[in-house]
Assembly symmetry: C2
Homo-oligomer: 513 residues x 2
């Protein structure tokens, strides 16, 4: 047993009578005096398993609770060694993310919805691509996808059929073995799996399960996968398009997972039109479908949770608005988000030859190879983010409507305030939001150690910074597209005017010496 | 006298006693039986003038009304010849613009706020540039401008001073002569002057005139300039930042101009934060400061007037968000607007050498030379617009919230409507607006003769058009940045899939054969 490694106990017994999901098996683990009871699952072929994820080094004992006649070591004790290279699960830490050992986790995601449902050769190609790519989180689905460019039938499904109907009480063990194998490969590569539990793009019936069936499915999933460290639960992709699921089910799913996941994996829900309520107590972060990256600080303020733009359109050339932005624009969206302390997820929908057939392989659907211009620049971004001494907090905007309104109550302040500020202060809320979308400074900082400002579409020939007067800074100008870094000023502080090339996509970093 | 040429009568008399503005002089012109009484003005040096703008050919007689002792031809009659090359004044025609003779006017504007307040050499350089530039409308101010890059004092002001104070009753005739000369030069070049009557960027006192002083100033301006065909009245630049002007004055100014301008020039008002009410009965068009070009059809629907984005940020490199977008982005904004039947105005704030000093000459302020990448592409756009057989109307969006809500009342329709449509239908109004900003098709048409669709930032490899089945069309793919035109399909109709290069800034035109 090793800290941050999944520990697995295996038992033999007869095939369960009735449900193969709700088997009466759990183990109480006691690690350094802390007890945790975890449920086991039936893995097929007379094999039962119980998985545990130890988060400390020390002495661990366990005791099996079951009414089943199982063989195997039903209780025991062993030393849990200190972690080797693993960092534990990713958890929210305010608006940021950390592994359990305190290491920063900078979520740089991508999207391969039907990754696990492809033939073996494609899966191998995908993993080979991932090995060279900058991504450390992947959004993918448990259930197969039926949609444009997603019409190949998978070999395996999550359940077997009984009387021609999916039977959630009879998991397809080969499917779950295959799913687990891919998750473990991701773990070895340092990649989090943002596992999508439901979605509407279905023609097999998985989007029409009853609420009871959903809970049985979740029960099995949690028994099997909860002790795997590199998983997040994404309740759905576009939950609001699942018309057979009543809206009331979703918070119940979140609560059920919270109760039955012994480790508190990250959890959120992805929408198409009607945003999920991220203030839900079991939701750990904001999972956004939006291109309004400049609102990163608004979401941070409103929810106090990490903000991840999991869908902000894909680099591609397919005839859907969500799948044909340029690599340049996707990179721009990444920088806008990251500089303000948010996180962003990549996707690619490039048909290399312009063919748009059912067998056209798009990364976003099936994986395979990457063809776009953004991954290289996203790697560059990730490197710069990793070099920072800590997480980025957004710089407070100079346009704070509430503060302005408060200050303007003082007639003396009002008298010397420029009229444009007074006009902005009295804008209706929606109009102010729009104003901010166009006027927010895209800037962040790590305390007083580092200040970043990203100029996005603004081709300024100078960047005016205001740095703390007590410190001394070096200034670098970074071309986020060309991936060049130029040190332009040294040992400066206070009001600093930085010469800029008057191009799009420029970033300024001031680092304390 | 010639149709569409300004006709001027000159009289001699003593200098007016008291106000040099409200002189008791008017002339009743009777052209083909239609009477129009127009006021005269004092031009200095004992000279009085009355100007008339005949809009028909025919016989015109006139009769002076005055209590002054004037010499000159106080009444007369002559033949008004038919127009030679002139087209008359520009007027609104629904959401479009036409000269009085029915010729289409496609407003392709630029901005040179302090054009008339520069030294002679600069003015000459500006006119030489304009002769080669694509612009047929210029926004410029009567009053000089005091702002960054606008700190040179003009030689002449609109008024003389009495006891050290501006005296609106004593026009500076040299100023008005100079202003008129520049307007006439623009007329000869086919350029409309969108004359800005007030603005807040002042340190001389013109932004602090009393309401009464404003009316005297407007009285003189209208007496002198109304008969010049190529003028529009822009009540202000950023009227809402003029804190010494009560908000109630502005509709009064509009009404006063409506009453005292015998010819009904185009009139609107430009804002910074609080939009002018374009439904004002004396306002002929929407003059917008906004980058939300995709809302062109919303403004057209709401006001039923021409929509002109007179300020949508400038191509430049100065450190202000409104003055440092790329030429590429400005061209993108132009196309987005024009394809949907709106109009857009250029501006340039490029410091060629990156110097940002008071004497740095920026086109937007002082004129001079153009350095940007957009004018050439705007010329290309204008040429394509001029080639069209008529004005463009926006193609109705597939997303019409009211229509969707109405249709969904029918349970049968509701049952077969995709859930995403139902979700969009029930969005709150502001959220729907935002949705439309991201999802509106940028498309327009001239009846069934021409269909245009602009793909803006969308790098699609195919464009799907739906063309009327009864006609036959040729399809051209246009790269709005590279300025290339490629005929890709011939003699097509119905559902047409057009091959596209998967780049930003592509336009498709289907022209009926």
């Amino acid at each position: 047993m090793r800290q941050y490694d999944t520990f697995e106990l295996t038992f033999q017994g007869a095939e369960p009578e009735g449900s193969q999901v709700s088997v009466d098996l759990s183990v109480i683990f006691t690690l350094n005096g802390t007890q945790k009871e975890v449920k086991g699952f039936y893995a097929g072929n007379g094999v039962y398993k119980v998985r545990y994820f130890p988060t400390e080094a020390g002495t661990c004992s366990w005791q099996t609770k079951t009414s089943l006649a199982l063989s195997g070591r039903l209780n025991g004790s062993e030393e849990c060694e200190a972690a080797a290279s693993a960092h534990g699960m990713v958890k929210a830490d305010g608006i940021h993310l950390k592994y359990e050992d305190g290491t920063r986790y900078i979520a740089v995601g991508t999207t391969i919805y039907a990754m696990v449902h492809q033939e073996k050769a494609r899966v191998e190609e995908t993993f080979a691509t991932l090995a060279e790519a900058p991504f450390n989180k992947i959004r993918f689905c448990v259930f197969p996808k039926h949609y444009d460019f997603n019409h190949n039938e998978p070999e395996l499904f999550a359940f077997e059929k009984t009387d021609g109907k999916w039977d959630v009480n009879r998991p397809c063990f080969a499917f779950w073995d295959m799913l687990e194998e891919q998750i473990r490969r991701l773990e070895r590569m340092g990649i989090e799996g943002d596992l999508i539990l439901f979605h509407p793009y279905d023609h097999w019936g998985f989007a029409q399960m009853s609420k009871e069936e959903c809970f049985v499915y979740l029960d099995y999933l949690l028994r099997r996968l909860s002790a795997m460290p590199n998983l997040w639960w994404s309740l759905a992709n576009e939950y609001d398009l699942m018309e057979h699921f009543d809206r009331s089910w979703w918070p119940e799913f979140a609560a059920y997972i919270h109760e039955n996941d012994p480790y508190g994996h990250m959890l959120s829900n992805h929408h198409c039109i009607t945003q999920w309520d991220f203030s839900d107590e079991n939701t750990t972060h904001c999972c956004l479908q939006s291109s309004a990256m400049v609102r990163t600080p608004d979401f941070q303020d409103q929810y106090g949770k990490p903000v991840i733009f999991d869908e902000c359109c894909y680099e591609g050339n397919i005839p859907y608005g969500w799948g044909n932005i340029s690599g340049r624009e996707l990179v721009n969206r990444f920088w806008t988000t990251f500089v303000m302390g948010g996180y962003c997820t990549h996707g690619e929908t490039i048909s290399e030859n312009g063919r748009l057939e059912d067998d056209t392989v798009l990364w976003w659907a099936k994986g395979g190879a990457l063809h776009g211009e953004s991954p290289e620049r996203i790697a560059f971004l990730r490197k710069i983010m990793e070099e920072l001494p800590g997480d980025l907090d957004p710089v407070k905007s100079m346009w704070d409507q509430e503060a302005m309104l408060e200050q303007l109550k003082d007639p003396e302040i009002a008298a010397r305030t420029p009229v444009v500020v007074k006009e902005v202060a009295k804008m209706p809320k929606e109009q102010f939001q729009e104003f901010m979308d166009g006027n927010r400074e895209i800037a962040g900082h790590c305390g007083e150690d580092v200040y970043l400002q990203y100029w996005a579409k603004h081709c300024t020939c100078v960047a005016d910074l205001v740095l703390p007067k007590g410190n001394s800074y070096d200034i670098e100008v970074i071309d986020t597209w060309e991936m060049t870094r130029t040190k332009v000023l040294s040992h400066v502080n206070g009001n600093v005017r930085v010469p800029m090339p008057g191009k799009e996509g420029m970033l300024v970093i001031a680092k304390r010496i």
